[in-house]
């Protein structure tokens, strides 16, 4: 058997060879540096290998680091994309994209790998991609929960949402001692049913023999359901009552964190989990991060905070920004709805995007990848699905899709089994990849559309520039200096929430030169004469702008100065970059 490292090395060699060959472009296909396939779900090792391969292929732009170890000792791989020729990392707005905080919600990791690959492959081909890469920094973390990911992909995969810190779910002083068991060794945790003629709660559906349906009250079925495949591992008389982990790694963040009895699975305090802590520690050293995406599955949603109604409404100016990006996202992502978490999904306390919005001042979304509507994605088929007699009625469509498009690969037929506790039973059911994860053959579209949304989001991060300047002698050596300052994109340099919480350093307007600043003010309307709105601060060579610079807006600042020679005005926003203009006083 060839181990994974060997494969990685081989791929690396192929890549290095490709660099030197410069093969002719064939047909319409671009000449990719890395011909990667995207029809597999990669486990943690494979993700690491793929990231290393890409890093070796594009070493000037890509930096690969580990943010630390997961509880299970897996590296928290993070790729940074930055073009050093256009500036340092902290001088550009950063877009942080993460995925897979729930172990079973896997496909976001592939979206992220695809994003790295796509940006690098197309940097020299597509002008807009080049511009985006040159203007921004990207932080890409494919798996927040690598322990859960491997548990899902490399094992039977049942109950993989959680992280892997042992939790005593049944309060017996033992940890994770009684989870489900793959009794028949087929790699799937199945359902158990038992044939009890005339005494059961369920019967075989006449629509499809694979469907079990609950009988009406007063009727008798022939089957009872006995839960998931497993036994009483710890001999306490209960089956599967303390499986691996037992918490929600996306309830452990620092805003609106609530104790376990209010928010199940939150653990004891925010950032207790090594994974959440490693990510936050890193993000707090990168105040330039202005966009955040956390990929989940499923349902087809573009979610924003707040996670709980009692957190109140976001400030109106922030909502405008969220709405515009979210609504365009809906146009880019068919079947996805833009929703507020607590209204559209359910109440979440201490989720990651509440923290990044409230605590780090970052415009943040969470996409729930994959909507079941996409199985039958035409208006005609959607209409037909309403008909209960159709083979693609909601009840039967999953079987139809599996039969005709996956060739039965995702379903395990009921089969007899001699259970150590329940006696003669049958086991069967859906495999782990069915339902929440898109079919592999539909991955490319999902990857690309979601990547495109995050790139659009990234493109809307603040981007400061200096426009027109003017110098006017008022009298003597007293001058009136005007500078147009623009944020070219939608997102403000400081969100209103960030201002309220004091979590982003204010923008600074500084002045250098042989000048004495008499007054400074904002020009109300540069085309109509009138007094400026005075800036009432003591240090006029270092003006604080706590409310930041709004999106797609130009402001004109005016200085009344005494002096001569060059005067330089610099606008510095931690999330929007630093820009300067120099004028001559004469």
């Amino acid at each position: 058997m060839i181990n994974k490292t060997t494969i990685g090395l081989l791929l690396g060699l192929v890549a290095l060879t490709a660099v030197n060959v410069h093969a002719q472009q064939r047909g319409s296909d671009p000449d990719h540096r890395l011909s990667l396939t995207w029809d597999r779900w990669l486990d943690h090792d494979e993700i690491g290998e793929r990231m290393q391969l890409m890093q070796r292929t594009w070493p000037n732009f890509l930096t690969l680091r580990s943010l630390g170890n997961s509880h299970g000792g897996r590296e928290m791989w993070l790729m940074t994309i930055n073009n050093p020729a256009t500036g340092g990392e902290l001088d550009k707005a950063g877009m942080f994209i993460e995925a897979n905080v729930h172990g079973n919600e896997i496909q976001g990791a592939e979206v992220i790998l695809y994003t790295i690959w796509y940006l690098m492959e197309n940097y020299d081909r597509i002008d807009e991609i080049k511009r985006l890469v040159d203007e921004r920094v990207f932080y890409l973390l494919p798996s927040v929960n690598p322990d859960g990911r491997d548990y899902f992909l490399d094992n039977a995969g049942s109950g993989a949402r959680t992280g892997h810190i042992p939790v005593d779910s049944d309060g017996d002083g033992l940890f994770d001692e009684d989870g489900p068991n793959d009794l028949n060794g087929n790699g799937v945790i199945e359902q158990i049913r038992k044939y009890v003629p005339g005494q059961g709660t369920h019967r075989i559906s006449h629509v499809d023999p694979r469907l079990l349906e609950r009988v009406f009250p007063g009727e008798n079925g022939d089957w009872v359901l006995l839960g998931r495949e497993g036994i009483d591992d710890d001999g306490d008389g209960r089956v599967n009552e303390d499986p691996v982990g037992g918490y929600d790694p996306n309830r452990n963040y620092g805003s609106d964190w609530q104790p376990n009895y209010i928010q199940g699975g939150s653990m004891n305090y925010p950032f207790q989990l090594p994974e959440a802590r490693a990510i936050n520690d890193f993000m707090m050293t990168r105040p330039n991060i202005a966009g955040f995406q956390s990929f989940h599955n499923s349902g087809g949603m573009i979610l924003r905070g707040p996670g709980a109604a009692w957190q109140g409404r976001y400030p109106t100016s922030d909502i405008r920004v969220y709405d515009e990006i979210g609504e365009n996202g809906e146009r880019m992502l068919p079947y996805y709805d833009y929703l507020v978490i607590w209204r559209g999904l359910y109440t979440v306390h201490g989720g990651s995007i509440d923290w990044t919005n409230d605590g780090l001042g970052i415009i943040s979304y969470s996409n729930e990848l994959w909507n079941g509507g996409q199985y039958f994605n035409s208006p005609l088929l959607q209409e037909q699905r309403q008909n209960p007699n159709s083979p693609i009625s909601p009840q039967r469509s999953r079987f139809f899709f599996d039969d005709f498009l996956e060739f039965g690969d995702q379903y395990v037929e009921w089969a007899p089994f001699e259970h150590p506790v329940y006696g003669q039973v049958e086991m069967g059911g859906w495999k782990k990849l069915s339902g929440r994860v898109n079919p592999r053959f539909m991955s490319m579209e999902l990857f690309h559309r979601n990547m495109a949304f995050t790139l659009y989001h990234a493109d809307q991060m603040p981007l400061m520039s200096i426009g027109e300047t003017s110098v006017e002698r008022v009298g003597g050596n007293l001058y009136r200096v005007r500078v147009d300052i623009t944020n070219e994109r939608l997102i403000p340099t400081i969100t209103e929430r960030a201002r309220q919480n004091h979590v982003v350093r204010p923008d600074l307007i500084t002045v250098q030169g042989n000048v004495d600043i008499v007054a400074a003010g904002w020009v109300a309307d540069k085309f109509r004469p009138g007094p400026t709105q005075m800036i009432d601060q003591e240090e006029l060579d270092r003006i604080l702008v706590r409310s930041g610079h709004p999106g797609r807006t130009t402001r004109t600042i005016e200085y009344l100065v005494r002096g001569s020679g060059a005067m330089t005005v610099t606008y510095s926003a931690v999330k929007g970059g630093t820009v300067s203009a120099s004028v001559q006083l004469r």
Binding site: D323, H502, E538, S547
Partner: protein
């Protein structure tokens, strides 16, 4: 008292060891139940002194051990002393008491109460060291405490995290300064026609807000002592120190406030403690010495804490910087500029709030909220502890105090689910009796100010009166000073540390009393045992096995809130037979969510099929109340 020295002497640099061979008459009255203790400490100790003292205590007894829970920002150890006799039940399976002191940097007395508690526990018979474990963390905030021993003393509550308090992009750039060189950071009162304050008509040391409706015009502004070091127009708004550790915990955490830290449990000190606590679920009670109180005054009938006793001068000086976050806030989307063209509409248009439209709608009021008052069923236990505290210490009156947002002891009850207490740990001398205020219906924490206009003196005035009466020099009289920027001002105000720490000479007696209280609290912890077991033989290999579980302690195995918050695991009763051999009766593993103390019992029985003559083990395990095992023979 043995020592009549009524001033603080933190700077002596040496530890005075008082060998107590006699007990004064006054002490006998207060501490009648305990004998003399060896080598108590009667001066405030800096980090090195405290470390030495703890080390000597821990190394002198096989019932004590010392370890560092973690280190502070400046590299000082956060010490933990574990007290419990070796042998018998492992320490981590015994009911435990956690004692934490000096969370607020200026509450140095707390670390001395904890230190003396260790000394008491190791030398007294009532500590029950064979069946109890005490976890004592005398000084959670060693960096903050060290400020008491600095050349210039500034009563700092916070730890040493470098922190941009005013969020101006500069860290710790505008600290207070000791302008008059008296070694103290006090306050300045500055004549200012725009000021909000006047000299208090009843006591010229105090200030009150001018009331225009009484014909008063403001004449002064108050500041902390110092200059505007960074030239931003605000004085002393960003000094050393980052996080007040007793604002950094998870219950009613004051989000985004400047001394609360960037998020809950963000600090190395608080995190080290929290990691220890959550790994020691046997902790069954918490005492956290600090500025809040629920021991002298237990929670009221609605489960709320009493009002905070605040110093108006401090509030006034802090208020001089409250406008700082209003500077640099420029209104309007365009802020006087142009542009702002949105994809979906014109600038200024009302946002559609698409994202806020219902999808699958949830009720905004749905979902539980965390409890913020003590559960009615738990109140009597707080009252009992309070009675014991007052009986043992003689303390009846709360000194300077504050609300308890983010405080450790609140976490202890509301999220850890155990009886959890805070006290300042000393009484004002000669307690003055301010008029009882009418019962206020508000549920939110209130502050009782010091200078109501007219009428009875408020807390601040009665505090000064009491201090004066006891000869404690708690106030630095206002003295003229020529300020380089502000001109003629006066410098004075409360002496740093004097209102939050008792005279050093009181430490031995106070420490011993708090040691005794700690032991008393331990005696109230739940203790489960199998009080009775019985076997009935039905013949044919079928038996009924019955046991009675008893809680011989005073506290229940879980407070009601421990049940509600699911933070205390139910007590488990388990019969050690294969599950299939149980024919009927209780489950193999049965749970008791809460078993009351004072001898309350719960009975369990199982009808089992087993071989006659075989022995069966039954176990009871309580997270907070220990465990017990019994074996019965089937006959």
């Amino acid at each position: 008292m043995m020592n009549n020295d009524r001033t603080l002497h933190p700077n002596e640099g040496s530890t005075r060891m008082i060998i107590r061979t006699t007990v004064s008459a006054g002490a006998v009255a207060l501490f009648a139940t305990v004998g003399p203790l060896p080598a108590q400490t009667a001066s405030y100790l800096d980090f090195d002194g405290l470390s030495r003292e703890l080390r000597s205590l821990a190394s002198g007894s096989n019932a004590a051990s010392m370890q560092a829970l973690g280190t502070s920002h400046e590299g000082r150890e956060v010490w933990l002393v574990t007290v419990g006799a070796p042998g018998g039940t492992p320490l981590e399976s015994r009911p435990g008491v956690l004692v934490v002191g000096n969370l607020e940097g200026d509450h140095v007395v707390g670390s001395h109460l904890a230190l003396e508690t260790v000394r008491y526990l190791l030398s007294s018979d009532d500590a029950n060291l064979d069946n109890t474990v005490y976890y004592v963390v005398p000084r959670l905030n060693p960096d903050g405490a060290e400020a008491m021993f600095a050349a210039v003393r500034h009563a700092r509550t916070r730890n040493a995290l470098p922190y941009d308090d005013d969020n101006d992009g500069r860290i710790d750039e505008d600290p207070p300064e000791d302008l008059n060189g008296d070694g103290l950071i006090t306050m300045m009162r500055v004549p200012d026609p725009l000021g909000a304050y006047i000299v208090h008509p009843d006591d010229a040391r105090l200030m009150k807000e001018a009331d225009a409706s009484e014909g008063q015009a403001g004449a002064y502004t108050l500041y902390w002592e110092g200059r505007d070091s960074d030239g931003d127009g605000f004085l002393n708004e960003d000094g050393a120190g980052g996080v007040d550790l007793n604002r950094n915990f998870q219950h009613v955490y004051p989000y985004w406030e400047r001394d609360a830290g960037p998020y809950m449990v963000s600090e190395p000190e608080s995190r080290a403690l929290m990691d220890f606590v959550i790994a020691h679920r046997n902790i069954a009670a918490v005492i956290a010495y600090g500025h809040s109180d629920n021991l002298v005054t237990p929670p009221d009938s609605r489960g709320n804490l009493s009002d905070a006793n605040v110093l108006d001068l401090v509030i006034a000086a802090d208020a001089s910087n409250t406008d700082i976050f209003a500077t640099g806030v420029f209104p309007g989307g365009g802020g006087g500029g142009f542009g702002g063209f949105f994809f979906g509409g014109l600038p200024g248009a009302v946002p559609q709030l698409r994202g806020a439209q219902p999808g699958r709608d949830n009720d905004p009021e749905s979902g539980r909220r965390p409890a913020e008052s003590v559960n009615r069923d738990d109140l009597t236990y707080f009252e009992a502890a309070s009675d014991a505290y007052k009986e043992i210490t003689g303390i009846e009156k709360v000194g300077v105090s504050r609300d308890a947002r983010g405080a450790l002891f609140q976490y202890g009850y509301y999220q850890f689910g155990v009886p959890s207490f805070s006290t300042q740990g000393w009484a004002l001398p000669e307690p003055a009796e301010p008029e009882e205020e009418a019962e206020d219906e508000e549920a939110t924490p209130r502050q009782r100010g010091g200078a109501p206009s007219g009428g009875e003196p408020g807390f601040e005035a009665s505090l000064l009166e009491a201090m004066d009466g006891a000869g404690i020099d708690a106030f630095v009289d206002w003295m003229p000073y020529d300020h380089p920027d502000l001109g003629s001002v006066e410098i004075g105000g409360f002496r740093p540390y004097a209102t939050t720490n008792p005279p050093a000479a009181d430490l031995p007696d106070l420490g011993r009393a708090h040691g005794e209280f700690t032991a008393r609290l331990a005696s109230m912890l739940p203790r489960v045992r199998i009080a009775q077991s019985e076997v009935m033989n039905h013949g044919g290999g079928v038996f009924t096995v019955s046991v009675a579980i008893e809680n011989t302690g005073f506290f229940p195995t879980s407070l009601q809130h421990g049940v509600v918050s699911r933070s205390v695991q139910p007590t488990t009763v388990q019969i050690q037979v294969p599950p299939e051999s149980i024919l009927t009766g209780d489950a193999k593993s049965s749970t008791i969510r809460k078993l009351d103390g004072s001898g309350a019992r719960a009975e369990y029985s199982w009808v089992i099929q087993a071989r006659e003559g075989s022995t069966i083990e039954i176990r009871v395990r309580s997270e907070k109340g220990g465990s017990d095992t019994t074996t019965v023979t089937l006959r």
